[in-house]
Amino acid sequence: MVLLLARRLTQAALILLGVAAITFVLLYALPADPAVLLAGRNATPQTVANIRHQLGLDLPLPVQFWNYIVHLLQGDLGRSFNQKTAVAPLILARLPATLTLMAAGIAIEVMIGLTLGVIAAVRRDGAIDRLVMTLSFVGVSTPQFLVALLLLYVFAATLGWFPMSGYGTPAHLVLPAFTLGILGAGWYARIVRSAMIDVLGQDYVRTAHAKGVPAARVVLRHALPNALLPVIAMIGIDIGQFMSGAVVVEAVFGWPGIGQLAWQAIQQVDIPIIMGVTLVSALAIVLGNLLADLIAPFIDPRIRAG
């Protein structure tokens, strides 16, 4: 267990180093010169040169990369071009909102997806199964903004149950979380259904029936735990996805999370923020997968041994 953790952490560090290298290269591949952007439209060539020197952009590339990594290790993600402040605190300030939305979204999609997936698998090829599969297809293929606008129209504008946008109370959380959750639930329903169909055909499920275990208990106690591994892996991926990928939802609902920050930064070509957000989401993806790897042995004792 400790060895697994150590190996995974080493892998995680290597992946993050790779991501840092790629974002660094991308920065240089951009047509925009950060010094020019920072200096503003009316700057003299001398000012631009000064800024370039200040930023260390006149140093050889490997040295710049080294400096960049050293700063990263100290938690320094650079300074925003537009907001003239350090990037790290900007992202940190957005973290609670993003984490809250992520947790709520994942909770909703897992609950809906698990329930529907299990029912569909048990009633395989029946009317309920077809309905669930159709719904999940709609779920995975509908654009986020459309669902967001529909929910807004029905529950905020017409019924007035929830606020249109903003952040702060649990009521504000409901619509954005459901937008994420409804769409994600489609994936989960499909994964759970196919995993459950596989498990329900296994010999040990037949054994459980043969010893007289009630049908509901066979499904929930014998089959479901064996079908959970892919779900855990999917949650690990979603943690990373929602960290950066909730851009649309955050924009529509005015949710002050990291997605919104990234969205604004892209519009303003604020490269340090874009790089910072990229790194943070990479970190989230790596941590999410690590978390999934750490939970898996508790579900499947065979992994504990290996």
């Binding site: 190996r7 054994t207 007289g212 009630p214 014998h222 004792p301 041994a305």
Partner: protein
């Protein structure tokens, strides 16, 4: 005479197919008397498993349906019971154990949880853990308290089947249905499980329906036997009359096809199937396969950055094999016999000396190895898994020729047709796909593919283990015929002592990676020198109900 415990009357089962209902079980009737072991015996597709699942009412609803008949347990018709009442009977009055102990226990639940569950469902919660421990004691599992906390993957196959039996008997069922309970187990473990079942039958007052394809197991276990063929019971009799005076032709064929240990006593080689005189190898001809001090080591993973412990799967193995002869490698699972087979073909890294036709293969590059690969081919255990389901069989047979760039496309097609004829199939079958053939036919196709490159050596790894006995005998005859006509050398790997005895000139018995005894087949079988060889031979079920061996039960 008292009323039977369980009686099946006129049972018919239909399979749902796209073409409508197809009857798979025709008017099956039998009765199980108290304290009796009734064997349902037959080959694959005979309907024996369908019968047992129908009794449990566990037929897959989407594909199988009971069309007619009654199944009476102590006067009540199981087919007429509501599902809730049937569920209470399952595991309580009628319990079942299955073929695959490896997959029949839930991998994420502890042994204790699975045992106590059965007890709780049928007998209430009080003292379930204590009773679970008693049951593990009853099936002679050592250290039961520790086993309860373990998970299935931590137990051996034999132990898992003991756990299955403990679970099935925990509620003292009136009827125990055992569906091929020992087929997946090693022969010495099988002997243990069969002995255990015999002892527990009396102890728990259970009657047993034993489903098996193995007439040796039937002879050892049954009081009465019902022979199934094509979904019908064709003959039903006491075990001794059935073996001594079978009425039906099919029963006679089935019994005749059973390989009997000792059947070749007094002979030096396998039976002759052609009139071709065996070629006398010129003196000084190098052996087709020469092996000295072969060792294969697996590195166990899990240590921090390498440095794992090494596991010797094969150690200090030496033998040689000459043209036209067969060397049998026999042993139980984990003995290293398959690993040896792969190593001599250069398929896995090894240490020691291996020479094919006089050419050492150690340290050869993939390219240097290529011409040698033509000399040696392999036939695998599972004819279903070793053919590409999307490739017509003629293309599969011609593929080795194409890979080695031999002949034009049309020459290769001709060769494939000729090979199909050679293994007893029609050349017209070449355009068909593997799923259109039976298991025996598929194994013939695999043999044809192995012959395409005109090899001198064929490594046959459990090549007939998956086949029904009657089919098995014909495939073995084909292999003998090919050996006599083509002078092939076989390295014949099998766990089955009787098959080894029939096929081989020489035998090497393997255990835990080493050869414990080697010699001519006659010497090894007629005067086994090693205790393990004798144990293996004693454990083979004898297809003769008058000679039941008394294998002592050893706790595991």
């Amino acid at each position: 005479m008292t009323a039977p415990v369980l009686s099946v009357e006129g049972l018919c089962v239909d399979a749902r197919t796209p073409q409508g209902a197809r009857r798979v079980l025709h008017d099956v009737s039998f009765a199980l008397n108290a304290g009796e072991t009734l064997c349902l015996a037959g080959e694959s597709g005979s309907g024996k498993s369908v019968t047992s699942l129908a009794i449990m009412r566990l037929l897959a609803k989407s594909s199988l349906r009971v069309a007619a008949g009654a199944i009476k347990l102590g006067g009540q018709d199981l087919l007429a019971l509501p599902e809730s009442a049937m569920r209470r009977l399952r595991g309580g009055d009628v319990a079942m154990i299955f073929q695959e102990p490896m997959t029949s226990l839930n991998p994420v639940m502890s042994i204790g949880a699975q045992l106590t569950e059965a007890i709780r469902i049928h007998q209430g919660a009080q003292d379930a853990p204590a009773r679970a421990r008693d049951m593990l004691d009853a099936v002679r599992i050592t250290d039961p308290a520790r086993r309860l906390a373990q998970f299935p993957h931590e137990l051996s196959g034999g132990m898992r089947q003991r756990v299955m039996i403990a679970m099935a008997l925990s509620c003292r069922p009136r009827v125990l249905i055992a569906d091929e309970p020992t087929t997946a187990l090693d022969v010495t473990v099988q002997a243990q499980i069969l002995t255990l079942m015999r002892e527990l039958k009396g102890e728990f007052g259970t009657s047993i329906i034993l489903i098996t394809h193995d007439m040796g197991v039937v002879a050892e276990m049954a009081d009465r036997v019902a022979i199934l063929q094509g979904g019908r019971i064709i003959e039903q009799a006491g075990v001794v009359p059935l073996f001594t005076a079978p009425r039906e032709d099919y029963t006679r064929t089935l019994l005749a096809a059973v390989p009997r240990l000792g059947a070749r006593a007094g002979e030096d080689g396998p039976p002759r199937v052609t009139t071709i005189s065996p070629p006398t190898p010129p003196p000084g001809e190098s052996p087709v396969l020469f092996v000295r001090d072969l060792a294969v080591t697996y590195r166990a993973h899990g240590k921090w950055f390498g440095g794992g412990s090494a596991l010797k799967a094969v150690d200090n193995v030496s033998f040689e094999l000459r043209r036209g002869r067969t060397l049998g490698l026999v042993g139980e699972s984990g003995s290293g016999k398959s690993t040896t087979g792969k190593a001599v073909l250069g398929l896995i890294p090894f240490a020691g000396e291996v020479a094919l036709d006089g050419v050492p293969i150690a340290g050869l590059s993939t390219r240097e190895m290529r011409p040698l690969r033509r000399k040696a081919q392999m036939i695998f255990q599972d004819p279903y898994a070793s053919l590409d389901p999307r490739m017509p069989v003629a293309a599969a047979i011609a593929e080795p020729l194409a890979i080695h760039g031999i002949g034009t496309a049309s020459e290769r097609r001709e060769r494939a047709a000729e090979l199909l004829r050679r293994v007893g199939l029609s050349p017209d079958h070449g355009s068909r796909y593997p799923h259109e053939f039976s298991g025996g036919q598929r194994q013939r196709i695999c043999i044809a593919r192995a012959l395409a490159l005109e090899p001198r050596l064929i490594v046959a790894d459990e090549s007939v283990a998956a086949l029904d006995v009657s089919v098995r005998a014909r495939v073995l005859d084909l292999m003998l015929e090919l050996q006599e006509t083509m002078g092939l050398a076989y390295l014949f790997i099998s766990h089955d002592m009787a098959v080894i005895e029939r096929m081989c000139h020489d035998v090497a018995v393997m255990r835990a990676g080493r050869i414990v005894e080697a010699g001519s087949r006659r010497a090894v079988f007629e005067a086994p020198a090693d205790a393990y060889t004798r144990e293996l031979m004693a454990a083979v079920p004898v297809p003769d109900p008058t000679r039941r061996p008394g294998v002592p039960l050893i706790p595991e």
